[in-house]
């Protein structure tokens, strides 16, 4: 039986297009020091450091954690560097949790980051070559297929785009604060990758996120409420193969079922109070609601349409504003776990959903082929 693990500290940077006031170590420290402050501890209390980010070529530093570990008080400690494409922030939390659940360490600092403005993500996604299609170009055909298969009206994508940006207005750390966002603005924004419009797409951000993970005793004596990690799972599948269904990737289905099973959840839609899902393009909200069996086939967009996924709805999704409002790629997955933790701890401030006891966190990456998911609870089961 594994040790229980809790998140007792959460920190993130103010995410921006370009954080020109900080170095890369400065960016990570901003998030890490906030997480330590939240947990009321210091670097000296940390046993091990786990660092995650997306490809090194985004900043042009090979294995940057080798110079960054000491900025996180890591000298003399174990340090792991995780890289699972866009899901990496989620995987980084999970690897950190494993270090506690295995009873190897009592307190672990997990940090995920990206300083996209140092380089160019479009260049990076294209492998440094011409004819890059960007993430939007890769995902657009699958989104089109979802729309064709379900008959979802086009305004569903606009609705998600507006909802997440309105939520972001309640989140002081979010990159995009667009007070005058509206359906009209979204639908009139430039078509980037048919059917995806500019305002239905995530920004490119500089940012970092950190969490302090600890064991059962640590969670119980934490000065503030703990977020108990009830379940975690990772799944990967090939990116391209005959018969693949990238609209509803099997890895995502199995990953979700794994965490539901571990957390004893049989009806996710009823038993989960809030979800932070990795939605870099608006349509991924209904796609993941279905892809993780929260909604039945063709029912995901109806949850959006009826307002169920709004912050006041019956199944709020991304009250933080989500990836659509802040996207420091390597950190984006960890932000989902961090925001889910804030929700179950009751510490999400203005974007707190009332009475959250169970939260779902999800990150995905690559060609919708890497998944990292977790279920967090306000009380240990």
């Amino acid at each position: 039986m594994a040790e229980r693990c809790a998140i007792v500290g959460v920190g993130q940077t103010h995410h921006k297009k370009r954080r020109d006031d900080v170095s890369i170590p400065g960016l990570l420290r901003e998030a890490a020091l906030r997480a330590l402050e939240d947990a009321e501890c210091t670097f000296a209390d940390i046993d091990a450091v786990v660092i995650g980010k997306a490809p090194d070529a985004f900043e042009g530093i090979v294995q940057p954690e080798l110079f960054l570990a000491e900025a996180l008080g890591g000298a003399g400690k174990p340090m792991l560097r995780v890289h699972t494409a866009g899901s990496v922030g989620g995987t980084t939390v999970i690897v950190g949790a494993h270090l506690v659940q295995s009873r190897i360490h009592q307190r672990v600092l997990a940090v995920a980051w990206e300083k996209q403005s140092e380089g160019n993500a479009q260049w990076g996604l294209a492998g440094g070559r011409s004819r890059g299609i960007g993430a939007g170009g890769a995902f657009a055909p699958w989104i089109r297929a979802y729309i064709e298969q379900t008959g979802a009206p086009e305004y569903i994508g606009w609705q998600v785009a507006v909802k997440d940006r309105l939520n972001a207005l309640k989140n002081p750390y979010a990159h995009l604060h667009l007070p005058d966002i509206s359906i009209e603005k979204v639908k009139e924004s430039a078509m980037l990758w048919d059917p995806l419009r500019f305002l239905e797409s995530c920004p490119s951000s500089d940012g970092a996120c950190a969490v302090v993970l600890t064991d059962e005793a640590g969670g119980k004596r934490a000065p503030k409420p703990a977020a108990w990690i009830e379940a975690t799972a990772v799944r990967s599948e090939l990116g391209v193969f005959p018969g693949r269904n990238p609209v509803r990737p099997q890895a995502g289905v199995e990953c979700a079922h794994d965490v539901y099973r571990q957390a004893g959840i049989s009806v996710p839609r009823q038993e989960i109070d809030v979800a932070e899902l990795y939605v870099p393009f608006s349509w991924y909200e209904p796609m993941w609601l279905e892809g993780h069996d929260i909604a039945g086939p063709g029912e995901g967009w109806k949850m959006v349409e009826s307002g169920d996924t709004e912050i006041t709805g019956s199944f709020p999704v991304n009250p933080s504003g989500g990836v659509l409002s802040s996207n420091p790629i390597g950190a984006s997955g960890m932000l989902r776990f961090a925001e889910a933790a804030l929700q179950v701890r009751g510490l999400a401030g203005e974007h707190q959903v009332d009475g959250v006891r169970t939260a779902l966190a999800q990150a995905y990456g690559g060609g919708a082929q890497y998944f990292a998911m977790g279920v967090l609870r306000s009380e240990p089961s």
């Binding site: 020109d20 006031d21 900080v22 170095s23 042009g60 160019n120 479009q122 260049w123 294209a126 492998g127 440094g128 070559r129 011409s130 004819r131 890059g132 299609i133 960007g134 170009g137 657009a140 055909p141 699958w142 297929a145 980037l192 990758w193 048919d194 090939l238 391209v240 193969f241 005959p242 018969g243 693949r244 990238p246």
Partner: protein
């Protein structure tokens, strides 16, 4: 000097790394055939799926494939999916006008060729199911220089694009498994 001005500067740093690699023997045979006007792949001895170019293994069954498993496929096929990309400017981007990024399932193959250009038809008429054939470069201009060991440019520098054959569209059910 504790009152030092802590201004934050911008530092430019060009990282430029060159990689040079011999093509794998499988790809070398593949490119030789391509220059000769033939498209070859590997047929998995276990599941029978044909991957173009051959990988030396079947990614689904994870069994090795060799020259003995080599098969030729047609230079005609079906557009199974596509996107019109409005190019984003970035360092090294050469495209300035919207371009086609299509997946083509060659007749006889189970893997699609990704990122293909489709010519001879307006962008807004390209659709899934469109039957196409390869537009081969003249033999003396074929090089195989764009083929890499990591999956980029699998026919580039020999076949520049695909063009409509004029045949009726392929029935979707026949390529349902190969849309993406």
């Amino acid at each position: 000097m504790s009152d030092a001005k802590k201004e934050t500067l911008v530092m430019e740093h060009l990282v430029s790394l060159r990689y040079e690699e011999e093509l794998t023997p499988i790809l070398e045979r593949y490119v030789d055939a391509l220059i000769d006007g033939r498209i070859v792949g590997h047929k998995c001895p276990q599941c029978g799926r044909v991957f173009v170019p051959g990988k030396g293994y079947c990614p689904m069954c994870v069994v090795e494939t060799t020259e003995r498993d080599e098969v030729e496929v047609a230079d005609t096929g079906t557009v199974t999916g596509f996107t019109i990309i409005t190019p984003v400017a970035y360092y090294g981007q050469e495209e300035t006008e919207p371009f086609v990024y299509a997946s083509v399932l060659l007749d006889g193959a189970d893997s699609t060729l990704g990122g293909q250009d489709v010519v001879g038809i307006p962008h807004d008429q390209i659709h899934s199911g469109l039957r196409v054939r390869a537009v081969w470069r003249p033999k003396e201009k074929r090089s195989g220089n764009a083929v890499t060991n990591r999956g980029w440019g699998s026919v580039a520098s020999v076949i520049d694009a695909f063009e409509p054959t004029g045949e009726p569209d392929m029935d979707r059910a026949k390529f349902e498994e190969h849309i993406f």
